[in-house]
């Protein structure tokens, strides 16, 4: 016994079914018009998740030229890695490495410097804050600006909201392997910022091993003073405390500087309204007068009986 043939209904029939569907709330029977949300996202789309109206393979560029450019870029990075080895540690001669007391890591002198940073806000969970990053006047600084809004998204479980953040991208070696910053010759973070008086948080993420340490970040505060004058902020790395997903941990450890991944700035001070942060450069320096190893709780907290 043969199976009954299934033929595609005609276009007019499809549109009439669609029209009736809107009136009668029947499930759609028109195939191949695009991925239905029910199939790819489930019945409920969380606030903040983008609406899916393409098949998963449609945004991917399968072009040959893109692949060729990618291979060229990675081979160039690989060649640079090999040639840097001949020069010295991290591509600098050893004398330069030894004599270095200040190093500027990020300075915003052109549009390509903005490519190294990622901005995000609570729009990812459905909130209403906005954040943008652009180059400042004369292409000398970067300006992180936007609006905070602490209205929580209406998904029934989020109680608080209202944050914006800017995070540097993880440095990558050839073929998208992770590279780390080695700041072990330095002991202070040096920033030149011009804020608007709001309290920011600086987050430094180091390389971790276990999956439950993925959100371990070392934090410290950045109190901006507002006004037209620039602010030089020097924060020793011994002051950074460890948090996990924003919660300060009981078991504190000093920040190890030999494998730093990213640095970021977060604003979440529960004050709705516009904000601005202008950054001139982010660098590290060595303060010989600072001999503290760790600022928090190094004595034994639970002495044995």
């Amino acid at each position: 016994m043969s199976l009954p043939k299934i033929s595609l209904p005609s276009v007019r029939l499809l549109s009439s079914i669609h029209h009736h569907q809107q009136q009668l709330l029947l499930p759609s029977t028109s195939p191949l018009t695009g991925p239905k949300r029910a199939v790819s996202q489930g019945e409920y789309r969380r606030p903040g998740q983008p609406k899916v109206d393409k098949f998963p393979w449609q945004p991917i560029n399968f072009g040959f030229s893109k692949g060729f450019d990618g291979v060229k870029k990675h081979l160039a990075l690989l060649k640079k890695e090999f040639s840097d080895r001949w020069v010295g540690p991290q591509g600098k001669p050893i004398l330069e490495h030894m004599l270095e007391q200040n190093q500027v890591l990020w300075e915003f002198r052109g549009p390509e410097s903005l490519e190294q940073w990622t901005v995000s806000s609570d729009q990812e969970i459905g909130g209403q804050s906005e954040v943008h990053l652009k180059l400042g006047k004369n292409q000398n600084t970067c300006l992180l600006y936007g609006t905070l809004s602490s209205t929580p998204p209406r998904d029934g479980e989020t109680r608080y909201s209202g944050y914006c953040t800017m995070r540097s991208k993880q440095p990558l070696a050839s073929f998208d392997r992770k590279k780390h910053y080695d700041w072990s010759s330095f002991n202070t973070l040096h920033l030149r910022v011009r804020g608007d008086g709001r309290p920011w948080m600086i987050n430094i993420a180091t390389e971790t091993y276990f999956s439950h340490q993925k959100d371990d970040i070392y934090n410290y505060f950045l109190y901006t003073r507002g006004g037209p004058y620039w602010q030089d902020v020097k924060i020793p790395f011994s002051k950074f405390f460890i948090t996990h997903r924003g919660r300060i941990q009981d078991d504190q450890h000093p920040l190890w500087l030999d494998k730093v991944n990213t640095i970021g700035f977060t604003l979440g001070d529960k004050a709705d309204g516009p904000f601005q942060l202008e950054i001139d450069f982010v660098g590290v320096c060595k303060d010989y007068a600072h001999t503290e190893e760790f600022a928090y709780e190094v004595y034994k907290r639970n002495p044995e009986i």
Partner: protein
């Protein structure tokens, strides 16, 4: 750490190695190695820093893998030959497996990648124990194996010397430099294992003395990277003058003790008609010498920018015990004239 716990763990370390030394049955030897691993794990993780825990986990995984391979190989040998005696292994398959398992235990190339990361996550004292004491038990087993696998030992040895040289070239972290130096020295030890086990033992003992000196020097200066080492002239000027000699001894230059094993190994390899191997090993020692020289340069031949108006710390006595450092430094620098006595003493 609670002194009772510390005493128990150190006793366990000693017990594990001693059991392996004294065993002629493979299961007892494996047991000694496991006791060693288990005893050092809490010592490594005692500071609970995420990096220390990471180093401990990586160490445990590699050592457990090696122990499992060892157990499997000795069981295979018992199945094939009917006995568990360490010195009576005759079948090539278990011998190869055991060689690879012990290579993983001590960190020979190409199974060396765990060693720099693990040493980097530890403090200098535990790193010292890992680099010195933990090598004794696996070598006790390697020295007793019948040499039935000449090619693999030469490959392990040459790869280790080359990897140890190239890997350490651009490091600025001292613990990683010492890890790569350890890999290179282990390569030299394995090269000559099948021809003259007494030379392997001699190399091991001189390596232990030299590495202990280096670790103790770094511990006294509380330095973990090259830049911290550069300010040691203000803290301990006499030691800053001697440390380049210790490092050159690690590099194998005459008239220091480190030359003794390299000279005797090259002589033995030449006698065994392995002149290209000997040449390659000697050239790769140059790579290691480069980074030892760089450390000496940074420490003693340059005066780094520092806080000149600060207090000169050398007027204050260090609270660390300096007797072990004094003894090992003297042994590292002055034992070359005793070569004939050493060779006679260690002929197995």
């Amino acid at each position: 750490m609670n002194p009772y716990i510390l005493a128990t763990l150190l006793f366990g370390l000693g017990l594990g190695t001693t059991i392996t030394f004294a065993s002629s049955h493979w299961l007892l030897a494996w047991m000694g190695l496991e006791i060693n691993t288990l005893a050092i794990i809490p010592l490594m993780a005692q500071h609970h820093h995420p990096r220390a825990v990471e180093a401990t986990t990586k160490y445990f995984l590699t050592q457990a893998t090696a122990a499992a391979m060892l157990l499997f190989a000795s069981t295979t040998n018992a199945w094939l030959t009917g006995q568990w005696d360490i010195q009576q292994m005759s079948h090539p398959l278990p011998i190869t497996l055991i060689t690879l398992a012990l290579a993983l235990k001590i960190g020979l190339a190409p199974v060396h990648s765990w060693l720099p990361e693990v040493l980097q996550g530890l403090d200098l004292t535990t790193g010292l124990i890992l680099s010195t004491w933990q090598k004794l038990a696996p070598f006790a087993l390697l020295l007793q194996l019948q040499p039935a696998n000449s090619t693999i030992l030469i490959i392990l040895g040459l790869t280790s010397t080359l990897v140890g040289g190239w890997g350490g070239l651009n490091q600025t972290q001292l613990r990683k430099i010492l890890a790569y130096s350890s890999i290179a020295h282990l390569g030299w030890m394995i090269l000559v294992l099948q021809f003259s086990p007494s030379l392997t033992l001699l190399t091991l003992l001189t390596y232990l003395i030299m590495t202990s000196s280096t670790f103790l020097v770094f511990k006294l200066n509380k330095s973990t990277n090259i830049n911290m080492l550069a300010t040691s002239w203000a803290k301990a000027p006499a030691l800053t003058a001697l440390t380049p000699l210790i490092l050159l001894s690690l590099g194998g230059l005459p008239p220091l003790t480190g030359f003794m094993p390299k000279w005797l190994i090259l002589q033995e390899l030449a006698k065994q008609d392995l002149a290209p191997t000997a040449t390659l090993a000697a050239m790769s020692a140059l790579l290691s010498l480069y980074f030892y020289l760089r450390l000496s340069y940074a420490m003693a031949l340059t005066m780094s920018p520092n806080n000149l108006t600060g207090m000169t710390p050398w007027r204050l006595q260090s609270s660390q015990l300096t007797l072990p450092l004094a003894i090992s430094t003297m042994a590292t620098l002055l034992l070359l004239p005793l070569t004939p006595a050493a060779v006679a003493l260690l002929t197995l």
